[in-house]
């Protein structure tokens, strides 16, 4: 789990699964993007609760960036997609 300024994000996520995000700040919107692409999706996250956000359809090894906040307050977290267990 990665932490920073009231935000917690899982550092990895299983392909086809979800990313767990907890936002303790007033920023209730979380953006998910596949690193390097222009495609971004926004998700509402309830304050101080773990939210489970579905991953985009990508394979294992893909790097996903989770961003919270806007402008200078924007925080970024890297999440690596891993393959599901055997």
């Amino acid at each position: 789990m990665q932490q920073g300024e009231g935000i917690r994000v899982s550092s990895s996520a299983v392909a086809g699964g979800n990313i767990t995000v907890n936002v303790g700040t007033s920023d209730g919107t979380v953006e998910i993007m596949v690193w390097g692409s222009q495609d971004r999706t926004s998700h509402q996250v309830p304050g101080n609760k773990d939210a489970s956000i579905p991953l985009p359809p990508v394979g294992a090894g893909t790097v996903i960036i989770v961003t919270v906040g806007k402008g200078l307050r924007r925080r970024r977290f890297e999440v690596v997609v891993v393959s599901p267990g055997p």
Binding site: M33, W35, G36, S37, T67, E78
Partner: protein, 157 residues
């Protein structure tokens, strides 16, 4: 007997002329100095022209957009350690808003060079995978310029 003064006009004495050998030496030295200076200036002008013929001029001018100028500074001028530290910021804004900028690929290129040349870089494999993905999913200009590094980056564990 009456004596009358007679004035004879002597020719004006000539200044001593420079001996031919010394004149040749001075002329030769002047020519060599001029050739050297001209060559140096020509070389400088030529190399700067060659640099300018690349994908982007080496030094970006102010764009009037503070965010873009900061990204360009990171890409071109900032120490690569700072660029590495701010990679998520750089890549996020670059891929979000400035995919067509001509200077920003240089930042990705510098990071690739850092990863490829530093076997002991912290989280090297992770950074390499992120860079490979960033190039693959980037603008066609970025892919054309840096796509040849992707295979090598993917090999890094």
């Amino acid at each position: 007997m009456h004596l009358k003064p007679v004035y004879l006009v002597a020719p004006k004495p000539k200044p001593p002329s420079v001996p031919t050998r010394r004149a040749f030496m001075i002329a030769g030295a002047t020519f060599l100095a001029g050739a050297g200076l001209g060559g140096a200036c020509g070389y400088a002008a030529g190399t700067s022209a060659v640099e300018g013929n690349g994908d982007a001029p080496s030094r970006p001018k102010s764009s009037g957009d503070a965010v873009l100028d900061d990204l360009r500074r990171l890409a071109v001028d900032a120490p690569v350690s700072e660029l590495n530290e701010k990679w998520l910021y750089f890549g996020d804004i670059y891929s979000r808003s400035y995919r067509k900028d001509e200077y920003l690929p240089r930042g990705v290129e510098r990071l690739i060079e850092l990863v490829l040349s530093n076997p002991n870089l912290e989280r090297r494999g992770h950074v390499a995978r992120g860079l490979a993905q960033f190039v693959e999913l980037g603008d066609p200009v970025l892919r054309d310029r840096l796509g040849h590094h992707v295979r090598e980056l993917r090999k890094i564990r």
